[in-house]
């Protein structure tokens, strides 16, 4: 003990640079980033090298070239003289269409089966359980192929088409449902719709203003929706002939005339995606409902509320907070899973990308673009759902 106790030992005064933890951390991260960058640069260098050997250079301008292939189903005008970019857009719109409809149907079915899973009726409970357990444990691709190969293209030929009420025609050419066709007064009716929209916006603003003044929350959304519908209905009655006419499909020779024909590929994809995802949504809904404490239901019962109102007013609003985050990921799964349509030939984004790739030989560019598109859809959807989730959370007490 020659050294006085209160003096600090030499090493604590200033650690050398190579033993200072702060410096080490930064150095480690820099090293990590450098290694990562080196790896990526190496891979890309290899890729460019290989592409050069095949006489290619990364270049996105080919999207302006003529595609030269047909797409069976398109929401916007398209033919084989259109550009690759337009073909890509057609695919994207088809993906959005099938995902949107799929999400709608899957949610309805999922909520239905989720509630059935908790029914007091033994049989209903077991049927729902069988539905969920069956669908959750099979691959979606097998389901899609089964629906396409085993169901939709094995429907009877058009001449012997099954006719369901509607009228809906089921045949191996697809499902024909009645469609809406613009009548002679449709131009005028569009103006009416614009007016109705303005009215609804007015009601919305007025109610919001009033709410801020009086401090009471009126049903803003409901009232503006009602205003819109009332104006639209009034316009419909006021016009001499209905602006939109329901046109039933009819068989004429070898094809269907009138209505909207949904192809077997589309139907198989939509059905498969909807029922597959509905099983997962059903489980999400069940878990959400079970997370609402029993006391809430008992309290509602003791207030004399009927079962339907208990579900709607007490259970669902509280369950929603638990349901929304996993529901978002199910919606995203459905959207991403729509890419499996490539196996049954529905021209959605991934399928069209594959065709573009085959036609143009531009592997890297097409893959980057299609992955980027899926990524953007995912990020936008989850951003929207996060926003909604926060609104639901505001209710929390």
């Amino acid at each position: 003990m020659n050294q006085p106790q209160n003096q600090l030992p030499e090493f604590q005064k200033s650690a050398p640079l190579w033993r200072d933890e702060r410096v080490l951390r930064i150095a480690g991260q820099v090293l990590f980033l450098i290694l990562l960058a080196a790896a990526i640069v190496g891979l890309i260098d290899n890729m460019l090298d290989n592409m050069r050997r095949q006489g290619l250079q990364p270049d996105f301008t080919f999207f302006r070239l003529t595609s030269g292939f047909d797409i069976g189903e398109h929401l916007i005008p398209y033919d084989r003289t259109s550009t690759f970019a337009r073909a890509f857009l057609v695919g994207l719109l088809n993906t959005l269409l099938v995902s949107g409809l799929g999400i709608l149907i899957a949610t309805l079915l999922g909520v239905f089966f989720g509630v059935c899973r908790l029914s007091t009726n033994f049989l209903v409970r077991q049927v729902a359980r069988g539905y969920i357990e069956f669908l959750r444990n099979i691959p979606l691709l097998v389901l899609l192929i089964f629906l396409y190969v085993g169901v939709f293209i094995q429907l009877p030929r058009l001449r012997e088409a099954l006719v369901l009420p509607g009228p809906t025609l089921l045949s191996n050419r697809g499902v024909a449902i009645p469609g809406l066709v613009a009548g002679p007064t449709f131009q005028t009716y569009r103006l009416v719709l614009v007016g109705a929209l303005l009215l609804a916006a007015g009601v919305w603003i007025g109610l919001t203003w009033q709410a801020r003044r009086s401090g009471r929350a009126p049903l803003t959304l409901v009232w503006s929706l009602l205003a819109f519908l009332a104006a639209a209905a009034a316009g419909w009655i006021w016009l001499p002939s209905p602006p939109l006419i329901l046109e039933p499909p009819a068989v004429q020779g070898l094809r269907v005339v009138g209505g909207v024909t949904l192809s077997p590929e589309f139907m198989a994809l939509l059905t498969g995606l909807s029922i597959y995802t509905s099983a997962f949504i059903a489980d999400v809904v069940r878990a959400g409902i079970q997370s609402v404490s029993r006391g809430q239901v008992e309290a509602a019962k003791s207030l004399g509320l009927p079962a339907g109102l208990i579900l709607r007013l007490i259970v669902f609003p509280q369950a929603l907070r638990v349901i929304v985050p996993p529901l978002t990921s199910q919606y995203l799964n459905l959207t991403k899973n729509s890419s499996l349509a490539v196996a049954i030939g529905f021209p959605e984004l991934f399928h069209v990308s594959g065709t573009i790739l085959n036609q143009s030989g531009r592997t890297v560019e097409v893959i980057i673009l299609s992955m980027g598109t899926y990524l953007s859809i995912s990020l936008i959807t989850s951003a929207l759902m996060n926003w909604y989730n926060q609104r639901v959370r505001l209710v929390e007490r």
């Binding site: 991260q29 990562l36 290899n46 444990n137 097998v142 089964f146 890297v364 893959i367």
Partner: protein, 403 residues
């Protein structure tokens, strides 16, 4: 005082409700008019769907197509004289599963018994003597495993069992692939000969085994205090989770060859494995992160107070607890990985679904779509369902949520 204790019995339910079938039915099926309506609707639906399904299953379907192509569906084009290697893997699996059952599960004997009984019946029905022998060995090794596990117990065999599971998967790969060169009994079988259910399993196994450590690293990276590592991990996870598996598989099959220096080639199955592993790692990372977040901060502080290094804190304190919490989720992830391997069909590999489709492309079997697809669905379903049952059991055995 004693009298009070005696009267504190639980009141018995009224006899009608539980004792008789009619009482049960009245309570569960016909308690009100609405309930009765539900029962009738459900019955009607069942009759409408089940009757034609059963009639088709037992009367109309012609299962010959499955019989004729059974070997293809199971192992694809794996050389016939090397099939014993596949059987060897199954025997080892039966032994390890039996051991697990004896050590950890120790219940649900009726399910285990049913599986063994089915195997025994299949052995009795088998026409090929080699198949019969192998099925009997399968039953024998499973029973041996159960017996050993039952006698050895958790304390003696718990660690060994974990080790056996960890070793099993690389061993299977080695047995199936063989050693390079030569024409002998243990020759190399290139991966383009792997097919059917065998390929499905191998893809799943490789996906699980390789993506597991990768997923843990990514999860730790995402929670790291070093921003560079955190950002890179997060970006990777979000990027992979934002795109469909099919695009990743497609990228792996078309772009991986471009990334490699010229002259280096890897085969298609390996490319698919790379794609599946990269995909699965991102999802696993999110699951593991869930477990890591559930560990209270006190655990870290306690470990620090004991003077453990960061590495030891993770491997000895945090990860064992975090992984235990997420075991059910991980099993769910593995089930979906098993189902997702069917997507390799779209890049031209002949897994169970791919082989099924190629059988259907044969003009001889072109009208048997229903039989082949129902059979494939049944196989996928039964394995996934068994795994989910096991995970529930594991959950209770490990006491998840009770510690």
């Amino acid at each position: 005082m004693a009298g009070e204790l005696v009267t504190r019995q639980q009141a018995l339910p009224p006899p009608g409700e539980n004792a008789s079938l009619i009482g049960w039915a009245r309570k569960n099926l016909f308690s009100s008019w609405f309930n009765t309506l539900q029962t009738l609707l459900a019955l009607g639906l069942l009759a409408l769907l089940l009757r034609p399904a059963l009639v088709w299953l037992f009367e109309q379907a012609e299962w010959r197509v499955i019989q004729d192509n059974f070997r293809l569906l199971m192992t694809g084009q794996y050389p016939i004289d090397q099939l014993w290697r596949v059987w060897l893997c199954l025997h080892l699996l039966a032994a390890i599963l039996g051991l697990t059952w004896g050590v950890w599960v120790r219940g649900w004997w009726y399910i285990g018994g049913a599986i063994l009984l089915i195997l025994a019946v299949l052995a009795a029905l088998a026409r090929d003597p080699a198949v019969r022998l192998h099925l009997l060995i399968l039953v024998g090794s499973a029973l041996f495993g159960v017996g050993l596990g039952w006698v050895g117990g958790r304390r003696l065999l718990g660690r060994t069992l974990t080790g056996a599971w960890v070793l099993y998967f690389p061993l299977v790969l080695l047995i199936i692939r063989g050693i390079s060169g030569g024409e002998g009994e243990f020759r190399l079988v290139p991966s383009n000969f792997w097919g059917g259910l065998l390929l499905t399993f191998l893809l799943t196994v490789v996906g699980i085994v390789v993506s597991f450590p990768l997923g843990i690293l990514l999860a730790l990276g995402r929670r790291s205090q070093l921003p560079a590592i955190r950002w890179v991990s997060t970006a990777y996870i979000e990027l992979i989770r934002g795109v469909p598996l099919i695009t990743i598989l497609f990228m792996a099959s078309t772009m991986v060859p471009l990334f490699l220096p010229s002259g280096v080639t890897i085969d298609r199955v390996l490319r698919a494995m790379v794609g599946i592993t990269l995909f699965s790692a991102a999802y696993l990372a999110e699951n593991v992160r869930g477990g890591l977040q559930a560990i209270p901060h006190g655990q870290y502080e306690a470990a620090q107070a004991l003077g453990l290094s960061g590495f030891h804190t993770m491997t000895l304190i945090i990860l064992p607890q975090a992984l235990r919490i997420v075991i059910p989720v991980l099993v769910g992830q593995f089930i979906s990985l098993f189902k997702d391997t069917s997507l390799v069909t779209t890049i031209g590999l002949l897994d169970l679904l791919g082989i099924g489709r190629s059988i259907l492309a044969n003009p001889q079997y072109i009208s048997y779509q229903h039989e082949v697809l129902v059979f494939i669905t049944f196989i996928y379903w039964s394995f996934s369902f068994l795994m989910s049952l096991l995970s529930q059991r594991l959950e209770t055995a490990l006491g998840v949520g009770q510690r």
